[in-house]
Symmetry: C2
Subunit: 153 residues, 2 copies
């Protein structure tokens, strides 16, 4: 990155900057669990739900990346979904997008503080997935074998 001079970061302002204390459990006043429909937990979880968000955060957790680098790291991602995913992460204040006014456009992405606060969780998810993916695949085969042939029990 060095030579960037007039890079344009998509800093709209500084929303939610006062969230500061990242390591203090919230009170859960309105609703503590899924009992409530409009609780808003799903709004956030849905972001982790789409196909590429988690992988993008994992990749960005090791440092700033260019768009093309992310494209390669996320492998099967289409240009469209890459952009959409990063836009949503940026919109949520998890990722900072910086545009360098170079000849062939240069754009970098990096995690914000909020995004970094999510890193350990996302890393654990990736670890868990890797640790269990074989057993899960086996469970699925078993399940399918037991259900397709005859019906269950």
């Amino acid at each position: 990155m060095s030579a960037g001079h007039t890079a344009v970061t998509d800093q709209v302002s500084d929303p939610g900057a006062t969230e500061a204390v990242e390591d203090e459990l919230v009170a859960l006043e309105p609703c503590g669990l899924p009992e409530h429909p409009d609780c808003g937990i799903r709004d956030v979880l849905d972001r982790l739900g789409d196909t590429w968000s988690v992988l993008a955060v994992v990749e960005l957790s090791s440092g700033t990346r260019r768009s093309s680098e992310l494209k390669r790291a996320l492998h099967g991602v289409s240009q469209r979904m890459l952009t959409l995913t990063l836009r949503r992460l940026e919109r949520d204040g998890l990722v900072l997008r910086t545009v360098y006014p170079t000849v062939p456009a240069t754009v970098t992405y990096e995690l914000t503080d909020r995004g970094r606060s999510l890193t350990p969780l996302v890393q654990q998810l990736a670890d868990w997935s890797l640790r269990h993916r074989a057993a899960i695949a086996e469970s699925r085969r078993e399940y399918d074998r037991a259900t397709t042939a005859s019906d269950r029990a």
Copy 2:
């Protein structure tokens, strides 16, 4: 669930029972990150991605639940999605389904060991979501306000 005598659990067999060591980081040999397409991480993450799986796991983390109880706990869920969600979790070996041969059918769901190993992660996700949802909502408003009016910088 006291009186159950001949309850039928959907035990197909015991696939992946030898995964045992739940607290040892995996080696990540084949591929450590999203670099690889057929790595299989997404197969697992996708399960966390759908709308109700995480919420179901959270609810089941506090104990065995009947179908109707889950239906109420997950609030807006439709009968169809409740069944689908639980079936997928069962297929992945995260949830155990038990049918009691009572007059009006009785079915309970509970986490398996594998499902329980996921509980802390899911709980952290829920916590994180609650802790940040306000700030994220604010970021979204800011972002939308800055982009709908004029185009970005």
